[in-house]
């Protein structure tokens, strides 16, 4: 099994860096992007296996980024994240191929479970 590469995409820098640090403590390879464009660049270069993607971001929003990620590599598993709490976005995301949907603030244990499930699904789809 390959190493779990996680990409965190969120415009809230404090949030994304802190979360990255917490995941790194748990021995995960974590990349961070503050916007959709950067995220897509990282997808091209670093090939993350699971991406945690905020739905509401300035510029490219989460759902647009999701579509483009899936166009680049449909195997990549995307967990959508929303502060808005709207299940509507979650349902839209799931239809576009997202793996799961979480509402902020998240429980780290729950996130790790989801990341592992996503990672497993990525490996299975290879």
């Amino acid at each position: 099994m390959e190493e779990l590469n996680v990409l965190l995409v969120d415009d809230e820098q404090e949030f994304v860096t802190t979360l990255a640090e917490r995941l790194e403590i748990r021995n995960m390879n974590v990349s961070v992007a503050m916007d959709g464009e950067t995220a897509l660049g990282i997808v091209e270069t670093e090939s993350p296996k699971v991406i945690v993607l905020d739905v509401m971001m300035p510029g490219l929003n989460g759902l647009d980024v999701l579509e483009r990620i899936k166009a680049i590599d449909p195997k990549i598993q995307v967990i959508l994240l929303s502060g808005h709490g709207s299940t509507k976005d979650g349902i839209k995301g799931l239809k576009l191929g997202a793996f799961d949907f979480l509402i902020k603030p998240i429980d780290i244990d729950e996130l790790i479970i989801k990341l592992n499930e996503g990672w497993k699904k990525y490996c299975e789809s290879q």
């Binding site: 917490r22 502060g83 808005h84 709490g85 902020k104 603030p105």
Partner: protein
């Protein structure tokens, strides 16, 4: 001028007031009254004007129709009487020409002539020959002893000497019965003149009048130039009395006048003058009899007008009732719709606000969560961390608070856009019992008795289980909060109609004022110290979304009852 202007202003004000609709509670009554006045006035004015015009025009033409035959009748009668008199005059003239004085002075011959006249012509009473100079009656044939009577001083003798002929007014003779005298003067070539004179019984006039075949209340008579009755009148007097009517006794035309008798009865009088002698024939008809058809018609016209007006008024009343009631109903529906719209608008704006707030709070909350989480991780991954337990306790406090905030924002978001509806077939009685199982412990603790009166025949409904649970949980919770220890909650289910079931939840708690009842479904309205004011608005929203309705009846210190109507088939 000023007064007229003021009057116009007042009229304008009245008309303006008719079209005004005030905003008071009785505005529909005013509106109804104003519409009635306007329609009744607008319909009855033309109807009345038309009825009056018809009345007068018909009266005018009918009078003309009645008067013309009266004129014809009086003229015909005059012609007959005139002909009668002229015929008698011509007979006398013929006799004077046919016989010589000596022959007529012979009593036998005179008797013979009178006999023939009486037999062949009616009305002759006697016949006399009078000397033209002395005025002595030379020969007389008739019922009276008038042989040798001198007429030289009498006006008629002088008149016949002057005009050649003479027809007298009616007078009473020796035997006191009314008659007229006709005399003709005859000149002989020798220069001698004599007069032949006869008396005519005026019974003949009565016969002519009888031939007119007048009605019982009608009258006809002849007047002389001085207005003295020449024949007796049924209504106004006897022969030779003065006629009380003001009738013109000279002229050439036929006249009609309307007057009244001494009893005040209306009369139509037609009269015409004789060319010779100067008599006036008068026919009197009772106005009531002559215009009998008119009165009948007038009465019919009156009833038609009255019934027509009455029908208009009834129809206007009914129509305005229907119309105003419909307007009132439409207004009420509109007001209700507005209120509901307003209510929904409030809920939806609160929802949007809640969503915005939740989002804005969730992001910083996520940062706090992660920061605290990282601290926790760092401490947890270093076993020799100083004061680890104390720090962990602080961090856990932060994380617990974050979780509490998350719960609040999630509840707010739930209010803003609630979860998707999942329709399934539900046994409502079971669902209520299920909900009660959550509350049993609390009820026991507060010594609250919950009585169930659930209909065994209650049909299954298609609805959302989770949301209905939330609804009943919320309302029963509220009921428990409203009652003191030892209170009672009665839950009843029943089939309201073919499409709806009704669940009523009654408590004997503190109850609510009317004002509170009106506001309880508004967001953030609460009477509890720690209440959010979102419970009942959420309940209201859920029930509405499921196609149902909720009502509340309450009385202070007596308790409240919530009625929840749910459709058998969800409209969602």
């Amino acid at each position: 001028m000023k007064i007229k202007f003021m009057e116009m202003l007042t009229l304008k004000k009245i008309i303006q007031r008719l079209f005004e609709i005030d905003s008071s509670g009785s505005r529909y009554d005013h509106f109804r009254r104003n519409i009635r006045i306007i329609i009744i006035v607008l319909t009855l004015i033309p109807l009345t004007v038309m009825a009056l015009i018809n009345y007068h025009q018909y009266l005018k033409s009918l009078k003309h129709e009645i008067i013309t035959p009266e004129k014809v009748l009086v003229n015909k009668a005059r012609h007959s009487i005139e002909f009668f008199l002229k015929e008698r005059l011509s007979l006398l003239k013929s006799i004077s020409h046919m016989y010589a004085y000596e022959e007529l002075a012979d009593l036998k011959r005179l008797n013979r002539i009178l006999y023939v006249l009486k037999n062949e012509f009616s009305g002759f009473v006697d016949l006399g020959i009078i000397d033209g100079n002395s005025g002595n009656q030379l020969c007389y044939s008739g019922p009276y002893n008038l042989q040798g009577k001198n007429y030289a001083d009498q006006s008629w003798f002088q008149e016949v000497n002057l005009n050649g002929t003479y027809i007298s007014d009616v007078f009473m003779g020796h035997r006191k019965f009314p008659h007229i005298a006709i005399a003709v003067q005859h000149f002989e070539k020798s220069g001698r003149s004599w007069v032949i004179r006869t008396t005519i019984d005026t019974k003949m006039f009565d016969n002519f009048i009888a031939a007119l075949q007048l009605g019982e209340k009608d009258d006809a008579f002849i007047l002389n130039q001085k207005g003295i009755f020449q024949t007796s009148s049924r209504m106004f007097g006897d022969v030779l009395e003065k006629c009380p009517l003001n009738i013109q006794t000279t002229g050439y035309a036929t006249y009609v006048l309307e007057t009244q008798d001494k009893y005040g009865n209306d009369l139509i009088i037609a009269y015409t003058h004789f060319s010779y002698p100067e008599y006036t024939l008068v026919i009197v008809k009772s106005h009531a009899v002559a215009l009998r058809t008119w009165f009948a018609l007038k009465s019919e016209l009156f009833w038609v007008f009255l019934i027509g007006s009455l029908l208009i008024v009834i129809v206007v009343f009914q129509l305005t009732n229907v119309m105003v009631n419909r307007i009132k109903e439409a207004d009420q529906n509109r007001e209700l719709a507005f209120r509901e719209l307003e209510h929904h608008r409030k809920l939806s704006s609160i929802g949007r606000l809640a969503a915005g707030v939740a989002h804005e709070i969730n992001n910083p909350m996520a940062i706090i969560n992660e920061k605290a989480g990282l601290m926790k991780d760092l401490i947890a991954f270093q076993p020799d961390f100083k004061n680890q337990e104390k720090f962990m306790a602080q961090i856990m406090g932060i994380l617990k608070s974050v979780k509490r905030c998350r719960d609040i924002t999630h509840r707010l978001l739930g209010f803003a856009k609630r979860m998707d509806v999942q329709i399934e077939t539900i046994l409502l009685n079971e669902l209520i019992e299920e909900v009660l199982s959550f509350l049993e412990r609390e009820a026991l603790y507060k010594n609250i008795s919950i009585q169930l009166n659930l209909s065994e025949t209650l049909p299954k409904i298609d609805s959302d289980r989770g949301q209905l649970q939330q609804v009943f949980l919320n309302i029963i919770n509220n009921a428990m909060a409203a009652i003191d220890e030892g209170g009672t909650i009665i839950i009843k289910t029943q089939e309201e109609n073919d499409d709806t079931v009704l669940v009523s939840i009654q408590d004997n708690g503190c109850g609510m004022s009317e004002e509170t009842c009106r506001k309880i479904f508004e967001p953030f309205f609460t009477q509890k110290q720690d209440g959010t004011g979102l419970g009942l608005p959420i309940t209201y929203g859920i029930i509405k979304r499921l196609g149902g309705n909720i009502e509340v009846k309450s009385k202070i210190n007596e308790g409240s009852t919530f009625y929840i109507y749910l459709p058998l088939k969800s409209t969602n």
